[in-house]
Amino acid sequence: MNCLKRLSASVLLLGFGIWTYGQNVEFHQNDLLGTLASKPVSIMLKNGNTFEGVLDSFKDTGFSISQSVGAEGLAVMTFVWEDIDEVGFEGDGLWEEIDVSFEKKEWKECIRIMRVLYEQRAPFFPILSETEIFQFEKLVTCYIEIQDPTAAMGLIRQLESWVKTPEYLLKIREHGLKVFLLSGMHEELVKLSRTMIYESPHITISSFPWVALGFQHLKRKRYREAWLCAIHPLLFDQGGDSAHISDAFMIAQIATLKMKEVSIALKYYDDMVEASVYPISKPYQTEWHDWWTSVDWRSLRENTDEIEKYGDIESDLAHSTDTREEDVPVIRFPVLQN
């Protein structure tokens, strides 16, 4: 396993964005051009000795750094991972810049900076803390925001092989679902959603798998299934991420409108307004958000016949069918044995 991790790290150096879903490997030559990657790193060994040098090479057992000696000389020192206590990098101050750009939604600028940091640090993932590695979760967000699912998925694959903390892993998997939504990978989305739902102790941990399934069903015109999935966060996710709740409201409204259940759709709309959560457009649900914003709720309330504008003529065909567990998983609420 360790060996695998390290190999992943070596792949990373060649360029992230590697995606194992039959897609072409994306090679970002520019990634190697960051200046930080060529700056020396400081190494503190467990025995207290310290060294400084530029990364020369690395493999699954350790790495080498080089140091200039004299005018043209070069000393190369090799270390094994187990001997390393700490590694120090330049450029920590860049995280503040990243935070500012992230706040301003300057995704490309964030990517530009973070990629340099990533290249500098990725080889050292075997000895970095999960918190340090998880910082690059922001980079995944940026890729999703610029709708680059390939790069996002490549990075997700790398991060999830290093991160084991449940909260971090959950966040990374949520990103995975967004990427599947972006790229229309139905089978993978259903599989990951179900895994997340069934592995999670309860829905309040994350209701996003339900939301993702809901969007996926909308896409496949399985409105009843979309509606039923959306209901789960609305019923059980108290105090969870309001973005997920607003998306769940939006899915429930769209599904019921498509099914021409006008009074139910209006009820969800009213509940949403009462809860003061409003959906905002996100790359993985833009088309649905656009559709939702086109609904004239006031007019629909005054004249419910307008439902014909929004309804799908085949919507109620699904009414008479059984709901499959794979389409709408069974929520596992926690029950303690007293």
Binding site: S276, I313, D316, L317, H319, T321, D322, P334, N338
Partner: protein
């Protein structure tokens, strides 16, 4: 104050630059200003940290004169020690020293001086407060504040200290004034809302609920921190609940938007919400109960959150203590300490309590169920039903309610399959009979009465002594009656009536339905007897109006108009709002009509309002009938003109019929020259408008007039209108139609053109020239755009194209559904799309379209076709039981007699054959050739198939007999099956020559040589 160069610092109100939250820096060179503090830095730090000390030091520093110090060293020393103890947080010792000062030096002049009194009293009071000597604290602080109080930020703490001491002491008498003083003088103090909250609690402690609630309202309306606002609200809710005022507590709970994530006392909120929710549920206020329940988390989630919140609070408290060694935040700290204690207490209760999740979810789910929010109920109950870890009883409850949710949502198929699985999983469940009865109701609601009765029969067989048995039997009888199977219905009703211990509610309803069924069988006397005895025995029963109305109806059917009228009048006067009142008024009109009181009848019919469109139209046409019968043609014409022109009646139909009567009335008044132009004008006005309907019917009227009105009747009329002239002079209606088609093409009136084409096609269909009809319809698809086609045209064109396997037909049908979602012609789309999907082997989709047909357009003329297709779909899926039921249902339709019945029999035969029930299949084929001789091609097929099946099951003799019977009918010789039969017979007798001998022995006629020839 003299020299700024000196280094010792003390603070003094009203001097020097501000220091933090109200402190001020003052520099002095006088050593007596800070006698006990040798380290100015420490003093500075202290001053920065504690305003209280600054205040006291400053008072001291400026007041004690050097002379006094020299003369009263012991006094100064003692004071210095007391002060030192105070600063070192040795409050008990400080109290002791301060009390000694008073004991020994109270008479001293310096002691009496205000400049001494102020720091002395304040330090003494606070030391007493912090060492728990509340009585002294109250005395000292009150003394200080009543004498020296100034409205400064520093003194706010002393007021809070006094409030605190009074609260500890339980002295309520003076509290109010100090609360008010604090709240009035320090509206911006950081602890203002804590004090206000404390005041609310204090009022509650004194049972001054009104005042407490007023205080709560002030907090709620303020900008107080949200946790404090919500906590105060929760406290009021709790108080109201303790007092049993659940209404008010639920109002308070539901009218706030609770921020669950920032709630400091989630358990408190959860328990209150649970209690309020249960109460609202018991009150039948399900939507509100849902809102309350939505604030209740799962038990384990609540435990986890409560623990985590407590941990956060404990950490906050620790940090508060650390950052506030001088207890400036005494009130704050005390407040949160109380909160923490309460939370710990609740957590303890939670931990030892049992997991409420399942019982809560059952209640939550039921609220959704009862408020008609079936999807939410479905999610909750499904999760309970399929939750492995729950005990059987809980899962059983989940299952049962899951069925209810599915049933409520109208998912008949799912409800049915859930019911069946429930029966398998919980065969001994006390809920099973209920579930099965619901299954029957599911079928009933889906309009499938026959299948509902199968379930009911099974239910009655499985639970013959169940208390609900009479109800099941009554329901089955009712279904039989609706199906027109009156014999079975009456048998069920009579058995219920004759059985013992039938609940009265069931008995009365059964007797009523028995009477209604008898009446439908024209057994009026028996029906009347039944209803009259019901009325006599139960004069106050809620069904009395129904009894009366039915009695009135039966009298009418028996032509006893007087009694009918009398009964209906009684019914209308006693129960004017009853659901049959509109029908009764119409019936009264019919009674008057039957009695020959035509004016009265017209008056009664005219009173029927359009809010019941069906009865209104019936009444309007009854008026027309009377006017026609009385030969009041001018009135008839006027009456229907008003009907046609009335734009306020939205649900109006039968327009072409009204137009017909107008034209007919004109004709009767010797004005055929007006009637025809009138209809032609309607054609001209509406013919090319895709949104107007009934043009085909108007054409039918014109066709009738063309036949009945001679050209001569127009002899004396000056026909200025060229189109009327054309109509009158055309040789027949068909040639006029052709002219119109040509004209429509010339002027590009595409809708009109398409309609005329369709009219022609329908005529061809009537003449059974189906291929030509289809071709004519397909011609319509040549119009420029689908948009010019009306609903019927889209449907007919789409279907005709699909029937000839042109896939483009699908587009027409889908367009029909989009453009005309409410038209009855959408039946054509449902049927056509089902056909299309079946051809593509998408049986599931085909089934769905057909179910939609049944649900929305069950009475369309294509209903029999749809049912036959449904049988075929089931056959493809391999669901023989459903397929057989579909065909059987069609056989029960009287309106489908003839060819559809033949096809249903053929379908049944094929299904049984597929299911290896060859004997049954043979029986159905035999029914085809014995009952439907007119359908020669089908008869041929039926003979051949039955013969083949006889062969298959080894009954060669019967097979041979069937072949012979078939071959013996020369009128069938033109069909290919006839030739095949001959061939097969030859093979059979070649294989089994003994059959021929046996045939002879049995007296069969020997076959001739030519019969054996192909």
């Amino acid at each position: 104050m003299d020299s700024p160069s000196l280094s010792r610092g003390v603070a003094q109100p009203g001097s020097a630059p501000a220091l933090g939250a109200g402190g001020r820096w003052f520099e002095s060179s006088r050593p007596d200003h800070f006698p006990s503090s040798s380290n100015p830095t420490l003093s500075l730090n202290l001053m920065k940290r504690t305003l209280l000390i600054l205040l006291m030091c400053s008072h001291h520093g400026v007041s004690v004169s050097l002379a006094a110090q020299q003369e009263s060293m012991t006094f100064v020393e003692l004071y210095s020690m007391a002060r030192q103890q105070f600063l070192s947080e040795n409050y008990e010792s400080a109290v002791s020293h301060f009390s000694q000062i008073e004991e020994f030096f109270a008479e001293e002049e310096e002691f009496q001086e205000e400049v001494f009194q102020k720091p002395y009293r304040s330090m003494y009071g606070m030391s007493a407060l912090l060492s728990g000597r509340n009585e002294i604290a109250v005395e000292q602080l009150e003394n200080y504040l009543s004498t020296h109080y100034q409205k400064t930020k520093e003194e706010a703490l002393l007021v809070m200290g006094l409030i605190w001491a009074l609260r500890k002491q339980g002295d309520s008498g003076k509290l109010s004034q100090w609360y008010d003083l604090f709240l009035q003088d320090y509206p911006d103090h950081r602890d203002r809302y804590l004090v206000q909250f404390d005041k609310m609690v204090w009022h509650f402690e004194l049972d001054q609920d009104g005042k407490a609630e007023a205080e709560f309202q002030r907090i709620w309306d303020s900008i107080a921190p949200s946790d404090l606002r919500y906590r105060s609200r929760l406290m009021v809710i709790q108080r109201l609940m303790d007092q049993g005022d659940l209404q008010k507590s639920s109002d308070l709970l539901l009218s706030a938007h609770w921020e669950i994530s920032s709630m400091p006392e989630l358990a408190f909120l959860a328990f209150n919400s649970l209690k309020v929710g249960e109460w609202l549920m018991a009150e039948g206020r399900y939507e509100e109960a849902i809102k309350a329940f939505s604030k209740v988390p799962f038990y384990s989630v609540l435990l986890e959150k409560q623990r985590s919140q407590l941990k956060t609070l404990d950490m906050g408290l620790a940090s508060l203590q650390k950052d506030d060694p001088t207890h400036r935040s005494i009130i704050r700290e005390s407040h949160y300490r109380t909160v923490a204690t309460q939370m710990r207490e609740r957590l303890k209760h939670l931990e030892v309590g049992s997991d409420y999740t399942v019982t809560f979810l059952l209640k939550y789910g039921r609220c959704f169920l009862f408020s008609g929010r079936y999807a939410e109920a479905w999610v909750i109950f499904r999760s309970l039903a399929l939750r492995g870890e729950l005990d059987a009883l809980e899962k059983e409850q989940g299952w049962y309610h899951w069925i209810l949710a599915s049933y409520g949502a109208g998912n008949w198929d799912e409800a049915r399959s859930l019911c069946l699985r429930f029966g398998e999983l919980y065969p001994d469940s006390a809920l099973l009979p209920k579930a099965l009865f619901m299954l029957a109701r599911t079928q009933q609601d889906a309009g499938d009465l026959a299948r509902a009765n199968l379930v009911l029969s099974d239910l009655m067989k499985r639970f013959p002594v169940h208390e609900d048995f009479p109800k099941w039997q009554m329901t089955r009888g009712f279904n039989f009656a609706k199906l027109g199977e009156s014999g079975d219905a009456l048998r069920d009703f009579e058995e219920v009536i004759d059985s013992n211990s039938v609940p009265e509610v069931i008995l009365i309803r059964t007797r009523y339905w028995k009477a209604v069924t008898l009446s439908s069988e024209n057994r009026f006397i028996d029906a009347l007897q039944g209803l009259e005895s019901l009325l006599l025995e139960h004069p106050t029963h809620w069904m009395c109006p129904d009894f009366l109305y039915r009695i009135g109806m039966i009298h009418y059917s028996m032509r006893d108009y007087e009694r009918s009228e009398e009964t209906l009048h009684r019914y209308l006067s006693d129960f004017p709002e009853h659901h049959f009142s509109h029908e009764a008024k119409v019936l009264l009109g019919d009674v008057s009509m039957a009695k020959g009181e035509l004016d009265r009848a017209i008056k009664l019919f005219a009173e029927v309002l359009p809010n019941d469109p069906k009865l209104f139209m019936y009444s309007q046409f009854q008026i027309g009938k009377i006017l026609k019968a009385t030969e009041a043609y001018d009135e008839l014409e006027r009456h229907f003109k008003i009907y046609v022109d009335d734009l306020t009646f939205a649900g109006k139909a039968r327009i072409s019929e009204a137009l017909y009567w107008i034209a007919w009335a004109m004709n009767q008044q010797d004005r055929p020259h007006e009637a025809i132009p009138f209809l032609l004008k309607a054609v001209r006005d509406y013919g090319n408008d895709p949104h107007s309907g009934e043009l085909l019917e108007i054409l039918d009227q014109l066709a009738g007039l063309k036949k009945s009105v001679s050209t001569e009747s127009f002899a004396n009329v000056d026909l200025e209108d060229e189109r009327v002239l054309e109509f009158v002079t055309s040789t027949n209606f068909q040639s006029w139609i052709e002219l119109e088609i040509e004209r429509a093409q010339q002027i590009s009136a595409q809708t009109y053109f398409a309609r005329l084409q369709l009219y022609e096609a329908l005529q061809l269909r009537r003449r059974k020239e189906y291929d030509l009809a289809r071709a004519a319809i397909q011609n319509i698809s040549l119009v420029d755009s689908m948009e010019v086609l009306d609903a019927q045209l889209l449907g007919e064109v789409g279907l005709a194209l699909l029937e000839d396997e042109f896939e483009s037909g699908e587009r027409y049908l889908r367009r029909l559904l989009v453009r005309f979602p409410n038209t009855p012609h959408k039946a054509l789309a449902f049927y056509g799309l089902a056909l299309f999907k079946l051809r593509q082997d998408e049986t599931d989709a085909a089934k769905k379209w057909l179910l939609k047909f049944e649900k929305e357009t069950a009475n369309h003329s294509r209903a029999a076709d749809a049912k036959l297709l449904m049988g075929e779909v089931y056959a493809r899926i391999g669901d023989f039981e459903e397929g057989i039921e579909a065909y059987r249902e069609l056989l029960r339709w009287k309106q489908a007699r003839g060819k559809p019945h033949v096809d249903a029999l053929k379908g049944l035969a094929r299904l049984h054959q597929l299911n290896n029930e060859n004997d049954k299949a043979i029986a159905y084929w035999q029914r085809v050739y014995t009952l439907y001789r007119a359908y020669l091609e089908d008869v041929s097929e039926a003979y051949l198939r039955s013969a083949e099946l006889f062969e298959k099951i080894g009954d060669f003799r019967s097979g041979l007999k069937s072949y012979d019977e078939f071959i013996g009918q020369k009128d069938l010789s033109g069909f290919s099956d006839y030739v095949t039969a001959k061939q097969k017979r030859r093979e059979l007798v070649t294989k089994h020559p003994e059959l021929l001998i046996l045939e002879d022995e049995h007296g069969g006629e020997p076959l001739k040589e030519e019969d054996l020839r192909l």
